[in-house]
Symmetry: C2
Subunit: 274 residues, 2 copies
């Protein structure tokens, strides 16, 4: 999917919500566990309940890989079930030497037809570049992540000049463009969004960390939005595990609707002139 | 596997060789492609031909994931086929927020019973810690990688003090110990091994980059070895793709034997008094 289509979808749905399919088998409602593929059945119901409210789905690959080849099948079936209009993100945080990253790119872009993959920057240019060689596919590069451990290395300043996350964002933009790269910027650092936006004015940011991790949608949007929205805000557990019983999908819809309505109002204020 | 057993195996076999099972389907000998699971059949023959010469096997997960659920099955079968005496490394370069890293740890340590997983440090402590909570299992943390892109961020100095790879190694040792963490140190930086060894005197280093990537076994060993060896030197393509025909396994054995003999001689010189 290209940037124009993504923005069109955001405008149509008045939403920049991404639903994270972190479908942890230990938290899936019990009545689904009897079915042949509980993870897929869970995802199917979550997708049916939220697809008009969100523009993207993001399965975190760990929750599938944990079940070996069977989990991989659940992932393939889930991806096939997501409507074509949605932007799909393989949250895999991959990154390896060139010939290996190329294989990961093939796995997610050709074998499975995801629109994007999250990639870790530690190994530098040749670990990222193979993912950039596919038309209308995207790298979503870790920049400033939402977790506590983001303080360990990402803020370390480089030669007294810039913190590591900034160096990553600046350098990566010399390899890519806003049509094939986004950055992961965690909502748990809302005070940083003005600066993050100035470092990459035209890029989309994938923003995890609202909901269970405590980030703030209003602040992130106020400072992070650009005139093509430029944000995909993710909620995983806050939506998919909003309910625990047989009516879990209704609870998921209610949680997604609340965020979508908040987003609609923010979009109206921000993009009124565009 | 614990450190004592690993060292015993090194002494018995006079080898610190790790064979990388980067079993790229496009390079597997043609006569195997007719079989039901060519990747597994290839690995099986490589393992039979090299198991007395190496102490570890390291499948790079990308080469399996590229084939979806079928690739995952090849990986599971391969792992089951590796003799118990060998140290097994899932070269996955994972790392995510805590609850997600925990799932990856379960996938590789419980679902599949690997001895170790390679982990990327970018997301900091809570992305690494879940992997450290399994008895006799190991994190192999990326420190100074063997690829060209290692120059992009890993050498950036931190507050004028230390480069990022050094900060990673020092900080990670406050979370772990030499019985549950190793570091990836690329053989393409042989001039750094004296310093790397001084930063982590007792830790094992997993050393990729000899063979196809051009690293130097002698130099790496001279400066990197400690009195419990402390090195696992990996060769992937240089061994597994040494031959292309029906006799590929014999060529793989010859390539592995050459390295093992070189290692035997180095070990004899270095560990004569231990």
């Amino acid at each position: 999917m290209n940037r124009t289509k993504l923005f069109q979808q955001i405008q149509q749905k008045k939403s920049y919500l991404c639903v994270g399919l972190d479908s942890d088998i230990t938290r899936i409602p019990k009545h689904l566990l009897e079915l042949d593929d509980p993870i897929f059945e869970f995802n199917k119901r979550i997708i049916d309940a939220t697809k008009d409210l969100c523009v993207a789905y993001k399965p975190n690959i760990a929750f599938y890989e944990a079940h070996g080849s069977k989990g991989w099948e659940s992932l393939e079936k889930t991806l096939a079930y997501i409507p074509e209009e949605h932007f799909t993100i393989a949250d895999a945080k991959r990154g390896d030497i060139g010939n290996t990253s190329r294989l990961y790119a093939k796995a997610f872009f050709e074998k499975m037809n995801f629109d994007s993959v999250t990639v870790a920057p530690y190994m530098g240019i040749d670990s990222v570049q193979p993912f950039l060689e596919f038309e209308n596919k995207w790298v979503i590069l870790l920049a400033l992540t939402s977790n506590k451990g983001s303080n360990d290395f990402q803020f370390a300043s480089q030669n007294g000049e810039e913190p590591l996350y900034e160096k990553v964002m600046r350098k990566a933009q010399t390899w890519s463009n806003p049509d094939n790269m986004m950055f992961v910027c965690g909502a748990t650092h809302p005070e940083k969004f003005k600066e993050l936006r100035s470092i990459a004015p035209d890029s989309f940011f994938l923003v995890p960390g609202i909901g269970a991790q405590g980030g703030d949608l209003q602040k992130v949007s106020e400072f992070g939005m650009n005139d093509h929205c430029g944000l995909l805000v993710n909620s995983s557990r806050g939506i998919i595990f909003a309910g625990e019983g047989e009516d879990f999908a209704e609870h998921a819809r209610a949680a997604a609707l609340k965020l979508q309505q908040e987003m609609a109002s923010i979009l109206e204020n921000h993009l009124v002139v565009s």
